[in-house]
Amino acid sequence: MRKVWKRRLGTVGLHIIIAAISLSFAFPLLWMFMTSFKTPREYYRMPPKLLPNHFVIFHYKEAFAPWAINPNELSESTYYIEESAGRVESVVPNIGNSLIIITGSVGLSLIIGIWAAYALSRFKFRGSENMGVWILSTRMMPPIVIAIPLFWVMRRLYLTGTHVGLIFIYVMIQLPFVIWMMKGFFDEVPKVIEESVLVDGGSRATCIFKVVIPVAIPGIVATALFCIFLTWTEFLFASVFTNSRSATLPVVLSWFRQDRGILWGQMSAVMVVSLIPLMAITMVLQRKMIKGLTAGAIK
């Protein structure tokens, strides 16, 4: 009897420790979520308080639909520092930019990468090992190292400040992951069907489009989601290669710091929204994500 109680107490203690750790990891995000509903007077309160007195959606309107703001709403409680520090325009076009660039780059890198992944998965050819390792090792390079020469190249191609330029660069970032993840998924597709297609006079293209891809669809979706995870948050290249019109979401997040202060409320609102896609993706692919993050490091 006593032993049982001791064990139960141990379990409860363990859960308290785990809950404390997980809440302390999630706490900053909770704070951000709450700040997006606070008025400036509340988030500049000393000492600070986690919960706002009442939830105001003013900052969300400010960030996404400034035209919907009723001037009478700008009472002293909501607008305080905001007006004096200026306001960032609606971020909806920037979300559009992010979506265009991500869709374009994920599509393109899947189109390019699937062929290479198929080759690495199905053929043993001269240098196949080395090529695979080399493709993966490009991930090790700090991106800033190639930022300078790329800036030059992009200028010569007149691609700075365009969506296409950033799409090309993101394809470069995503390719190693696409290839290694897809290779893993292709390896799991049995070869027997393909061989019979080949014997019947079908081409390799038939194999890929009629046999392998339909079977590996879940894998392709996981890979695409992982690519979104990689580039949705990319800041360095985005800040170097975009201008004010083609800026993506992470770049916009650096704009809220203005001369006379930081627009905390509006910024928090945008950050909360920018978190949603990644939150969804993480829920969907908890397990597969490890596979991507540690792609190919262990064979």
Binding site: I21, I112, V145, W232, V240, P250, I298
Partner: protein, 314 residues
């Protein structure tokens, strides 16, 4: 009827027709070509370009033209190794590397162990909570912690004052700015260590653990001699990826401190960014890029050598 295995027929076909044989040989290279061209153009070409540029000096009055830059020999590299600010920034980077990676490693291992206990309920919920920092864009986490670290109305100082200490101006003093960056690094990347380690822990078979228990091994002995060797792969991944990513610590510094106050949080990549994109010393920046590039490759080489695992292929 004689039955031939399919593989056999296939290879016979290719021997019979010479054209088919060539086609079969060339196919994988054709499939690899787009990827290779892409990576050569966007990674290898810029790297070589940077190497050439490292021996030149950028002159603003001649515009942004490659041939307008005069050759300066090894000047840029000599300047780099005598530039106290660059050496300082390298020192800061290594400081972050050692402190952040070791704390992340220890903490991540501990949390993974707790989550791996058999009597843990609702582990999905805890995982989502612990993984949540990973979902935040790095630039946003810099912004967020700037808010939390504020000396007057930040949450961190509220906690510190709650325990009766004096508030700390994390971002305004040279003494505390670097620890602040390290704290954010740890917060952001421990989840990655947890998720990898947990995957490793769950893949360990039961038999060696039971055998050790029968032989009367203590918990520490079990951890040291059974679990650690079996998780060599995961440990390698964590060390390798994290130490490479410390050299990508750019967004956090950019949003949190912008390298200040003074030079106190200017890490190597941020120093490079400043030299190249705000002071337009493009030649010097290219030289710094190559130095950083070589350091990163050297570190990963050392880690791989230390582990000496044949199966690791990064």
């Amino acid at each position: 009827m004689q039955y031939y295995p399919i593989k056999m027929e296939n290879s016979m076909l290719s021997v019979v027709s010479r054209k088919g044989y060539l086609k079969k040989k060339a196919a994988p290279y054709m499939y690899m070509a787009p990827t290779m061209i892409w990576l050569l153009f966007f990674i290898v070409y810029p790297l070589i370009f940077a190497l050439v540029m490292a021996f030149k000096r950028f002159k603003l009055q001649r515009g942004l033209s490659f041939w307008g830059m005069p050759w300066v020999g090894f000047d840029n590299f000599i300047t780099a190794f005598t530039d106290p600010y660059f050496l300082l920034s390298l020192y800061k980077t290594f400081l972050i590397l050692f402190i952040a990676v070791s704390v992340e490693f220890g903490l991540g291992m501990l949390i993974a162990h707790l989550l791996n206990k058999k009597n843990v309920k609702a582990d999905f919920l805890w995982m989502v909570l612990i993984l949540s920092p990973m979902m935040l864009p790095l630039i946003a986490s810099g912004n967020l912690w700037r808010m939390l670290f504020d000396v007057r109305w930040g949450a961190v100082n509220a906690v510190i004052m709650f325990f009766g200490f004096k508030p700390i101006d994390f971002l305004g003093t040279t003494k505390w700015a670097l620890p602040a960056v390290i704290i954010v690094e740890i917060w952001q990347w421990t989840p990655f260590v947890v998720i990898t380690m947990l995957a490793g822990l769950r893949s360990i078979p039961e038999e060696p653990k039971e055998a050790a228990l029968v032989d009367g091994a203590s918990k520490w002995q079990m951890f040291r001699h059974i679990i650690m060797p079996l998780m060599k792969g995961q440990i390698l991944i964590v060390l390798l990826i994290r130490s490479m990513d410390v050299f990508k610590t750019f967004d956090i510094v950019y949003a949190l401190t912008f390298g200040g106050p003074g030079q106190s949080t200017t890490v190597a990549t941020f120093y490079l960014y400043r030299q190249a994109f705000t002071q337009f010393k493009l030649g010097y920046g290219a030289a710094l890029s190559w130095i950083i590039f070589i350091i990163v490759y050297f570190i990963s080489f050392v880690i791989l050598k230390v582990f000496k695992t044949e199966e690791a292929v990064v």
